[in-house]
């Protein structure tokens, strides 16, 4: 049997106002980014609870990226500032538990940055692919 090429599953939480529109723009401009990036639209990047990140890993994600408006541009004034602190603390904790730090990322993508969105996803997917499957935060029950 031929081994299937390993393609990491990426979950991208995108804020409704900037990054989701950015992803849209990337699509409209026919920019390529991996099909294994699954976008979940959230009202604001700050909606992303640490539990969401862990649950994404549980359900089989190999990498989780959170995209929001650039600091200062939040539709709700300050949501992404909270995201920034929260995710800094969470990512540092995941790293502390020995989970590869390359599997998590926060990126600010505006509605006009379709190219940045595509480039970010390509880069992130590549880094995650280099790590291989997520073994350290997996739930075997979900992998059968």
């Amino acid at each position: 049997m031929q081994m299937k090429e390993y393609k990491p599953l990426i979950v991208a939480f995108c804020c409704n106002w900037c990054s989701y529109a950015g992803a849209d723009l990337a699509g409209n401009n026919r920019l390529n980014y991996p099909a294994d990036v699954k976008i979940i639209r959230v009202p604001c990047s700050c909606r992303v609870n640490p539990m969401f990140v862990l649950r994404a890993f549980q359900r089989g994600a190999d990498g989780v990226i959170i995209c929001g408006c650039h600091p200062g541009d939040c539709h709700y004034t300050s949501g992404n500032y909270y995201t920034r602190r929260r995710m800094a603390a969470l990512f540092s904790m995941l790293d502390y538990l020995g989970i590869e730090k390359e599997r998590t990322r926060v990126e600010w993508v505006s509605a006009a940055e379709g190219a940045k969105f595509a480039a970010t996803m390509n880069d992130f997917a590549e880094k995650v692919a280099a790590l291989g499957e997520n073994k350290r935060l997996e739930d075997l029950r979900c992998k059968q």
Binding site: R59, G60, D139, R141, C142, Q144
Partner: protein, 341 residues
Amino acid sequence: MRKCSLNSINSVFAEIAKAATLYLPVDGKDGSAVYTKWEEGKVWSNALNTVRSPKDFFFPQTENLMAFKTAGKNIEIIDTRSESEDFVIFGVRACDVKSFEILDRVFLSEPVDTFYAARRAHGVIVSVACTKPSETCFCGTFGINPAEPAGDISAWKTETEVFFRANTEKGVALLSKIEGLTEECTDEAVDAQKEKISAIMKKLPLKDVTTDAFGGGKTMDYFNSPAWDELSQSCLGCGTCTFVCPTCQCYDIKDFNTGKGVIRYRCWDSCMYSEFTRMAHGNNRLSQKERFRQRFMHKLVYYPENNDGLFSCVGCGRCLAKCPISMNIVKVMKKIGGENK
């Protein structure tokens, strides 16, 4: 009675492990003993007992019952059980051996719990007598003799030797497997040890704890006692006592959606938890006092009422050592029982 030298016990373990998986208490990283699968290099712990009770072997904290595949409106039930394999639990103390009898009466009474029964049928218990009971031990209260543990094989450990006596057919079969590594001997050394232990038993601080005031039919005598308020006032409502207890057997059945199907599993539950009895229309035990009372009334009154006076506590002392606020069954028995002599 057969014996082997303590130095050669590892070859006995190796022999047993050839035919069945062998578990025994091994010191963990934090210094407390844990039942661990034996393999070359694992050393039998000198600790009196493990933090977790051996009930896990028959009634694991989590166990899958079945799986479901759903497609549209259809459901398919998949039996996920695999054939259990034979295993030996070595070094079970007298109190914990007794706890199996208490669990048996729940799980093996009609209708039989087949998950438990299968494990029970495949497990062989090698008990070992205690030589240095802890201050928290009160197995004597429940008529358990730590020097004369039950189980398929009883063992006694001295400074230099280990003695074995088979009690059941399973025990005889296991003992015959290690026949070449052991030799026939008299009861002398074991009798001497028993005597020593019975002298220690008389010195234990909790030797006077008594069950006299408890037993079946006493529900209404104690249920409304004002002492429950006082005893339960600082209970945190955690599940430590229930989870370290060798006789607590309440469980929950839950579904886990894996995204590809549903696994139905059973896991330990605690009557100390606030949502244990919560249902759609309300909760019949609203305060921690009621939950706290349930746990002790069950052990001291309800269970004996349904099981010929057998108490659902073996005096292992785990809850005494582990309760975050040091509230435990001994204090309850002294307070509630003492007021109602």
